[in-house]
Amino acid sequence: MPFFKIPLHIKKQDVLPFLGITTAPSPQEENLIDICLHEIKQKAHPVGIWKTYEIKKFEPNNIMLENCSLFLEGDNASEHFKTCEKITLLASTLGNEIDIFLQYLGQENPAHALVFDGIASAAIETFTEQMDTYLSSDIRHKGYFPTARFSPGYGDWPLKWQKEFLENIGGAEINLTTTPHFLLQPIKSVTAALGWSKIPVERSYTSTNQATKPCRNSKACKYCKLAPFCSSKKH
C-alpha cells in the first residue's frame, strides 16, 4: 500500500480556530501555543495510506466498490458521490505518541493539554489536507474532478463502517485501529473517501445542500474553523 509521509508543516494562524481563539491570543496563550507547536513537531509522526477502487454499483442508499467489503451507506454518501466512477479511501494519523502525551498532560497540566489538543487537531487536519492536495492532483491529471472528502459518521453514513474502512485499506500498517465503539485510535486520525467525478463538483463546504454537510448533526460544528464561511444555521 502506498504511504504518504511528509514533514509536518503547521502555521500558527491555522491553529487559532481550533483553540476557539477568534482574535489575537494573549501573550501567555501565545507562549503556550509556541511551546506546543515545538512539541508537536517532536511528538507527531504523521503518515497516511490510501487505496483507489472502481465503483461497482450504485444502489438506493448504498454504493458498492469493486473488491471491497466497505459500503458507502446512506442517502448522503449516494448524493455526494453520484457523479463518480472511482473512490479513493484514505486514512491519516499523527501516531500514538500524541495520545500518550495528551494522557500525561491531562493529569498534570490541563491548560497545556487543552492547547496541545487543539494544535494536534489542527495538525491532523493540515496533514490530511496536504494528502488531499497530493491525491487530487493525480485525480485531475487523469481527467477527473475530485470531490470533497466524506467520512464514515458524516450525515447518515453509519460510523460502524469505520472498522471495515480500515480493514480494507490496511489501517494496521500505520497502526490505525478503531475502538469497540468505532472511534479511531490513535485519537488524532482521519479516514475519508475522495470521489473521482466525471464532471466538476463543489469542493467547499459552503454548499446550501445540507444533506452533504459533514457536520450536519454535530454540535461540534461550533468549533469548526469553516464557521465564517458556512451556511449552516448552527453557526
Binding site: P2, F3, K5, I6, P7, H9, L19, G20, I21, T22, P25, S26, P27, Q28, E29, E30, N31, L32, I33, D34, I35, H38, K41, Q42, E85, L102, G106, P110, A111, A113, L114, D117, G118, Q130, T133, Y134, S137, R140, H141, K142, G143, Y144, F145, L159, T179, P180, H181, F182, L183, Q185, K198, I199, P200, V201, E202, R203, N217, S218, K219, A220
Partner: protein, 831 residues
C-alpha cells in the same frame, strides 16, 4: 594503416563538430532566454481531452496511436504565438507508466513525443523536454531512494535529448528532494540546459519548501532557469515570483493555471480568462520572468492573448542582487556574511567527543541523536554539525541515516562533518537541501576528492587552513592555504560564495600567543579573499578549566575580526549572549532588534514579550492582574508580601475568588478564550496550594464532592479535564474516573465517595445515550445525587429530555451549575 588513421581522424573530426554544433544549439536557447522573453505554450491535458482522449487513459500511450492529434495541439499553440512547445511526456517515466504496464516504453515515448514536436516546429520554436514528477518522494518520505529516483529520471532525460529537445523542463514538482533528483539526472546525464519549476500552495510546496529556499538549493545544484507552475492562478503566483526575484539572479519562469473548471452554485466556471491572465504579463516581466507560459485549463486563446500583451512590453533592466553565502535545508535558509547575524553551528552530535553519541550509533538508537538535535536547536543552534565517525562502523551508511533522521524532524540546515569522499557522497545523496561540507583542506588529495562532490550535489564547502605540512603558525601562511582552497573551488565550478574558511584555532594551553594568529588570519581572509569565516571554537579552551570563559572571550575576538559562524556547544548559554552582543557592537544588528529579542527571550520558540514586572505594588489589584493574565512566576513572591498585611482567608475571599469569577465572566462574554481561562485557573491553583499551609484546617469549608468522567464508549476527555480543573480551582473535591466509564462505575463511586453530584461528558451522538442509562440507574436506586451533563454533542433539550439536573454548555457554566446545586442542597439541609 594510413587509410585507417585517416578514417578515424575524419570520424573524430565529425564527432567533434557534432559536439560543437550541440554546444552551439544549447547556447542558442540560453542566449535567447538571456536576451529576450520567451512565450511558452499552454495546457496539454485538457487539450488532449478535447482531441478525444478518453477519461482514465494514459495521455502518453494514447499519443502513440494518435500522433496527429497531438501534433494538432502543438500546431495550435505555435500558431497562437508560442516560442517554446512542450513534449507530451509529463507522465512518461517508469514509475507512472507502471500503472499501465508500460515501463518498457519510456524511451520510445520520450523520443516519439520530441520528434512530433520537431515535425511541427522545425526551427521556428524551441522544444521543451517535459519531465513531470513520479508521484513518489525520496525516502523516507516515500519508498524509493533518491538514487533510484535519479535513475528513473535519467532514463527519461536521456531519451528526451536523443529525441532532440532543446532543454529539459522539470515541471510541477511538489517536493524539493524529488526535484533535486530530476535536476541531478538532467545535469549529469544530458548536456542540455535545465529549467526547474515547482508548484506551490499557500506559499509552500507540499513538503514545506518556500520559494526563497527552493531558489538557493536549485541554483546550487545547477538549474539554469527556475520558477513556478500549476496549483494557482497568475495573481497567487505573483508573490512566489517576487520571492524568487529577491533570492536569485537566475532567469525565472512562470506558468499559471487558467484554473480547472469548478462547479459554483450549479454553474461551471473558469476562473481565469485569456484576457485576465494576460493582464499579469507586465508584472511578471518586471519581476525578471523570462519564460512565460500557462498551465492547467489554458488554451491557445490564453497564449494568443499573452503574445499580444508581450508585444506591447518593453523589457526592463533587472538589476543583479548580491547575495550572501546561503545554506539550506528543505524548509529553511540560513545566511552568512558581513551584513548577516553570526550563526551558531551546534557541535554536539560527535561520537569522538561524546561516548553517549558513539553508543547511540553503535546501537542504532536514533532517538538519542534526535533528542540531541532538538536540544541544540532549543538552545539556539541555527545549524547542526553531523559527525558519524565511529571506528568499525560504516560511515557512509551512518551519515545517510543521520541525514535522513535529522532532516525529517528538524528544520535547520546540516553541516556534514566527513572527509571520506565515499561516505560524504552517501550523505549528500540523502540531503535534500544545500549542505555545508565540513571539510576540505589545502592538501591536493582533499581538494580533488571533495570539491567535485560539492559541485555535483550543490553544496558549500568549509576549507580548513591546513595542508600536508600541518597548520601553519603564521596568519599569512594560513591565508595562502585559504587562497589555494578558494582558487581550486572556483576551478571546480563552485561560486566563491560557497567557500567558507576555518582558520583553525589550537589549544591555548599549548601556546596562547597562537590564538591571536587565528584572529589575524580571520582578518586577512575576510579582507583579501572576501569569503565567510567559520571557527570550531571549543579547541581554544582544551585542557583548561572554566572553558566557557575562554571560549566566549575568544569568540568575541573572532567576531570582532569578522567571524561569520562558530561551531560550538549551544548548552553554553554565554555563546548566544556573546553572539548577540558582538553582532550589535560590530554593526551586524544596527537596530538592536536581535539583541533586544535575545535579552527578552524566555524560550527559543516564545514570542512572549510581556515579562512579569516584579516591582508592582503589593495589592489585591496586582493579584487580580496576575490571575487574569495567568502569570505564575510572580504569584508566590506577591503572596509572601501580601501575607504580611492581610489574613490568608481575606486574600482568598477578597483577592483570588473574585479574580476567578471575573475571568469566568470575561470568558462567558467572549473577551477571553478557553486557554487563558485555564492559565488563570492554574495560577489560582498555585496560589491555593501556597496559602493552604497558612489556613487552619478547621476553618476550611468542605464545599462538596463531584464525580466526573466520560461515558462508556467515548475516549474524549479534554472537556471533562477542563471542568475538573475549574471545579478544583473553586475548591471542590473532584473524583475523576477518566474516560470510557461504565454506568455502574459512576454510581458505585458516587456512593463510595459520598458525592453530591455526578458530571457526565460525551462527544459522540452514539455515546451520549449512556447518560440516560446512568440517570435511570440513579433514580431507580433513589440516590440523593444530582447529575449534570455536557459535551460537544449534548444540548439543553437533550439534558431535559433525559432528566438531568443541569446542562453545562461550557466549563464555566458547569461550575456555576455546581455552585447553584450545592448551595440549594445546603439550604435544603438547613431547613
Amino acid at each position: 594503416m594510413t587509410r585507417q588513421r585517416t578514417y578515424i581522424d575524419l570520424l573524430t573530426h565529425f564527432q567533434l563538430k557534432l559536439v560543437e554544433l550541440e554546444v552551439l544549439l544549447v547556447s542558442k536557447f540560453l542566449t535567447a532566454i538571456k536576451e529576450t522573453i520567451l512565450l511558452g505554450d499552454g495546457a496539454m491535458g485538457t487539450m488532449l481531452v478535447k482531441e478525444g482522449l478518453p477519461a482514465g487513459y494514459n495521455p502518453e500511450l494514447w499519443m502513440l496511436s494518435n500522433p496527429e492529434k497531438v501534433k494538432n495541439i502543438h500546431k495550435a499553440y505555435l500558431n497562437a504565438g508560442s516560442q517554446i512547445i512542450q513534449t507530451n511526456t509529463f507522465g512518461a517515466n517508469r514509475l507512472k507508466l507502471k500503472e499501465y504496464n508500460a515501463t518498457t516504453k519510456v524511451k520510445e515515448l520520450n523520443i516519439t513525443a520530441t520528434r512530433l514536436v520537431k515535425e511541427v516546429v522545425g526551427n521556428n520554436a524551441f522544444i521543451a523536454g517535459i519531465v513531470g514528477p513520479t508521484g513518489h518522494f525520496p525516502a523516507p518520505l516515500g519508498e524509493y531512494t533518491w538514487l533510484q529516483l535519479v535513475d528513473i529520471f535519467r532514463e527519461q532525460v536521456e531519451a528526451l535529448q536523443e529525441g532532440g529537445a532543446d532543454f529539459i523542463f522539470l515541471e510541477t514538482f511538489s517536493d524539493l528532494g524529488e526535484a533535486r533528483a530530476a535536476l541531478f539526472a538532467a545535469k549529469n546525464y544530458t548536456s542540455l540546459p535545465v529549467a526547474c519549476s515547482l508548484t506551490y500552495t499557500d506559499g509552500h510546496t507540499l513538503t514545506g519548501t518556500a520559494p526563497k529556499t527552493a531558489s538557493v538549493v536549485l541554483e546550487a545544484m545547477g538549474a539554469d532557469i527556475i520558477g513556478a507552475n500549476c496549483s494557482t492562478g497568475a495573481k497567487e503566483l505573483l508573490p512566489i515570483m517576487e520571492a524568487y526575484r529577491n533570492t536569485t539572479n537566475l532567469p525565472l519562469l512562470v506558468e499559471p493555471n487558467a484554473g480547472m473548471p469548478e462547479l459554483v452554485n450549479g454553474k461551471t466556471v473558469y476562473h481565469e480568462t485569456p484576457q485576465a491572465m494576460s493582464n499579469y504579463i507586465n508584472s511578471f516581466v518586471h519581476l525578471g520572468v523570462k519564460l512565460i507560459g500557462a498551465c492547467c485549463g489554458s488554451t491557445p486563446d490564453h497564449i494568443r492573448a499573452m503574445a499580444e500583451k508581450l508585444q506591447e512590453e518593453e523589457f526592463p533592466f533587472i538589476k543583479k542582487i548580491v547575495f550572501p553565502t546561503r545554506l539550506a535545508s528543505r524548509t529553511k535558509t540560513v545566511s552568512l556574511g558581513i551584513g548577516e547575524l553570526p550563526q551558531l553551528i551546534g557541535e554536539r552530535i560527535n561520537p569522538t567527543a561524546r561516548k553517549i553519541i558513539s553508543r547511540a550509533f553503535h546501537e542504532n538508537n536514533w532517538d538519542t541523536i534526535l533528542q540531541e538535535g532538538y536540544a541544540q536547536v532549543e538552545k539556539g543552534a541555527h545549524l547542526l554539525d553531523l559527525n558519524v565517525g565511529v571506528p568499525g562502523l560504516d560511515e557512509g551508511k551512518l551519515l545517510a541515516q543521520g541525514v535522513r533522521q535529522l532532516q525529517m524532524s528538524l528544520d535547520v540546515p546540516l553541516v556534514l562533518d566527513c572527509t571520506n569522499p565515499e561516505a560524504l557522497e552517501k550523505g549528500l545523496q540523502e540531503y535534500q537541501g544545500k549542505a555545508l561540507i565540513n571539510s576540505v583542506n589545502g592538501e591536493s588529495k582533499s581538494l580533488e576528492n571533495i570539491l567535485p562532490l560539492a559541485k555535483k550535489y550543490g553544496a558549500a564547502v568549509l576549507g580548513l587552513t591546513l595542508d600536508d605540512q600541518g597548520i601553519p603558525e603564521k596568519a599569512e601562511d594560513r591565508l595562502k592555504i585559504a587562497e589555494r582552497i578558494v582558487n581550486r573551488a572556483l576551478e571546480a565550478g563552485l561560486s566563491k560564495k560557497d567557500v567558507i574558511i576555518d582558520c583553525l584555532v589550537m589549544a591555548a594551553a599549548t601556546n596562547p600567543i597562537l590564538s591571536l594568529e587565528t584572529i589575524r588570519a580571520i582578518e586577512l581572509v575576510k579582507k583579501q579573499l572576501g569569503v565567510c569565516c567559520v571557527l570550531g571554537l571549543s579547541n581554544v579552551s582544551h585542557g583548561l578549566p572554566q572553558r566557557s570563559w575562554l571560549n566566549n572571550t575568544f569568540l568575541s575576538l573572532a567576531l570582532g575580526a569578522g567571524l561569520d559562524a562558530a561551531i560550538a556547544n549551544p548548552n553554553d548559554s554565554r555563546i548566544s549572549e556573546t553572539m548577540a552582543s558582538c553582532a550589535f557592537l560590530t554593526g551586524r544588528d544596527p537596530s538592536a532588534q536581535n539583541y533586544l529579542q535575545a535579552t527578552g527571550k524566555i524560550l527559543v520558540t516564545s514570542t512572549n514579550t510581556n515579562r512579569p514586572d516584579h516591582n508592582k505594588p503589593v495589592s489585591f489589584q496586582t493579584l487580580h492582574e496576575y490571575i487574569l493574565q495567568g502569570q505564575k512566576e510572580p504569584l508566590v513572591p506577591l503572596l509572601e508580601k501580601l501575607l504580611k498585611k492581610e489574613e490568608p482567608l481575606a486574600i482568598i475571599n477578597q483577592g483570588i475568588i473574585p479574580s476567578l469569577e471575573k475571568v469566568g465572566d470575561l470568558f462567558a462574554q467572549g473577551n477571553v478564550f478557553l486557554p487563558q481561562l485555564m492559565l488563570s485557573g492554574e495560577a489560582v491553583k498555585i496560589a491555593f496550594a501556597y496559602l493552604k499551609k497558612f489556613i487552619p484546617a478547621s476553618t476550611t469549608e468542605e464545599k462538596g464532592t463531584i464525580v466526573v468522567g466520560t461515558v462508556k464508549g467515548d475516549v474524549h476527555d479534554i472537556g471533562k479535564n477542563i471542568v475538573k480543573a475549574l471545579l478544583e480551582n473553586h475548591g471542590y473535591n473532584v473524583v475523576d474516573l477518566g474516560k470510557n466509564v461504565p454506568a455502574a462505575t459512576f454510581v458505585e463511586t458516587a456512593k463510595k465517595e459520598h458525592a453530591q453530584i455526578i458530571g457526565l461528558s460525551a462527544l459522540m451522538t452514539t455515546t451520549m445515550v449512556e447518560m440516560d442509562t446512568i440517570i435511570k440507574q440513579v433514580r431507580k436506586e433513589n440516590l440523593p445525587l444530582k447529575i449534570i451533563v455536557g459535551g460537544a454533542v449534548v444540548t439543553e433539550d437533550y439534558a431535559k429530555q433525559i432528566g438531568a439536573d443541569g446542562y453545562g454548555k461550557d466549563a464555566v457554566a458547569a461550575v456555576k451549575i455546581v455552585q447553584k446545586l450545592l448551595n440549594s442542597s445546603k439550604l435544603l439541609r438547613n431547613d
